[in-house]
């Protein structure tokens, strides 16, 4: 990580990728008439978009910065990006929050790892702050998870499954 601006561009890319993925998940579930979870993903996309916007404001960037290439991540995708295969058409809000929790934990670790490197002081300071923010998100999602019903066994059983041959 060379400079503070590089770091912030990367953080912005991370938030943007997460925003887009949650929005895609919302679209998928809208298509499959799972409105409740679609709405939850839409909400999560909104939260990530706010984080991205805040980075732009903080950096005084009028629009998207020159982003690092998509393959710049150490992992297959950005640390806060949920994988496509996490989805199920019958999933419930609890599952959506589980996905979000996993992503927030990955993001927290990502920033903690940068804060522990020999990067420039400004980068380490920003990474520490962002790790704290992600930690707070983890706490919020854990609280949220307590407020939604836990899925009952067999939640993914469909009396008229799409895989049934007529």
């Amino acid at each position: 990580m060379d400079t503070y601006a590089d770091f912030m561009a990367r953080a912005y890319a991370m938030e943007l990728e997460a925003t887009e993925r949650y929005a895609q998940f919302a679209d998928q579930l809208d298509t499959h008439n799972n409105r409740e979870v679609a709405q939850m993903f839409r909400k999560l996309a909104g939260v990530e978009a706010l984080h991205a916007k805040r980075i732009l404001e903080e950096m005084n960037w009028p629009s998207m910065p020159a982003l690092p290439p998509a393959f710049a991540w150490e992992t297959a995708e950005g640390p806060e990006t949920a994988p496509f295969d996490a989805m199920h058409y019958l999933m419930q809000p609890f599952h959506a929050l589980e996905i979000a929790l996993k992503c927030e934990l990955q993001a927290q670790k990502y920033f903690e790892d940068i804060a522990a490197t020999k990067a420039p002081a400004a980068v380490r300071k920003a990474a520490t702050e962002m790790a704290d923010e992600e930690r707070e998100h983890v706490r919020l999602i854990r609280d949220w998870l307590k407020r939604v019903p836990q899925p009952k066994p067999g939640w993914d059983e469909d009396p008229d499954p799409p895989s049934v041959t007529e």
Binding site: Q28, A66, F71, A76, A86, H88, S163, V164
Partner: protein, 280 residues
């Protein structure tokens, strides 16, 4: 880093249309769509300079989901359409999207000859070892012992080996990718597009509805332990003996692509004149 630095550059989102995919949530094809759009952004292409051609099947819906020119053709016939298009419009970047049913069964013969011709196309086959759109019939790449209501006890037939067939038929770029790694897949698609000649990428793309056990593919895939070779014999040995989960470019040959000397120079009016009854 000074921002903003790349105002004119297109990003992956610019290659996505407003149509929402109707694939099952969890389907690998979402990742492949993401990989294709990322690859096009990486290559610095513009939608109007790219055509995406497909046949029939879940994966063949892809052209509608991009902002590029698209042709959703008939079952198994994506490659002939794409070949004709590239012959007439060599300036276009032509991607062909298919699945294991469309591409290896009804389109199997076209696959052989597309490899043989080595026209500069990029052929992306999303392989999930099943006909998903038509409710789970075994495809050419289905394991012989995969038992289902439509094939109780399995077909008992050995699988088609697309990479070996591609190599033996003359494809000049042979690779395997995994949908669970959209960035790696995007990188590979970009490399395939840059490669002159017929580039074939088999993308392992799980069908979570009919083959839910394929969710475990993410634990089975691994990077190919060796770099790409331009030696077809060596590549053949590697591909014949691999476990089916080796990811990477497995062959990158040097054969010159086939391109007809003259492109499509006839005007539409001239073509129409040839079909007029009075002209016979």
């Amino acid at each position: 880093m000074n921002a903003p630095a790349t105002a004119a550059a297109l990003v992956a989102k610019d290659f996505k249309s407003d149509y929402k995919p109707v694939w099952c949530p969890g389907c690998g094809d979402y990742s492949v769509l993401a990989a294709i759009t990322k690859a096009l952004a990486i290559l610095g292409l513009r939608p109007e300079n790219v055509a995406v051609v497909s046949g029939i099947g879940c994966s063949s819906r892809i052209p509608a989901y991009t902002t590029c020119y698209g042709f959703h053709g008939v079952h198994g016939r994506a490659l002939p359409v794409a070949t004709g298009l590239k012959a007439a419009r060599p300036d276009l970047t032509v991607l062909v999207a298919s699945g294991d049913g469309d591409g290896y069964s009804i389109g199997g013969n076209h696959f052989l000859h597309a490899c043989r011709r080595n026209v500069d196309l990029t052929y992306i086959v999303m392989d999930n070892h099943v006909y998903g759109m038509t409710k789970g019939q075994p495809s050419p790449t289905t394991e012989p012992d995969w038992s289902s209501k439509l094939a109780p006890g399995g077909t008992g037939l050995r699988e088609f080996h697309p990479l070996v067939i591609a190599l033996a038929s003359g494809a000049s770029f042979v690779a395997r990718a995994f949908s669970g790694d959209p960035n790696g897949c995007a990188q590979m698609i970009a490399e395939a597009v840059r490669h002159p000649g017929f580039s074939f990428i088999e993308v392992l793309s799980p069908c979570v509805t009919f083959r839910p056990e394929q969710r475990a593919w993410k634990d089975a895939v691994h990077a190919a332990p060796v770099a790409a070779t331009d030696d077809a014999a060596r590549a053949a040995r590697r591909i014949m003996t691999d476990d089916g989960f080796n990811l990477g470019v497995l062959f990158k040959g040097k054969r010159a692509p086939y391109q007809p000397a003259s492109g499509g120079t006839q005007a539409v009016a001239e073509l129409e004149a040839g079909f007029r009854l009075g002209s016979l």
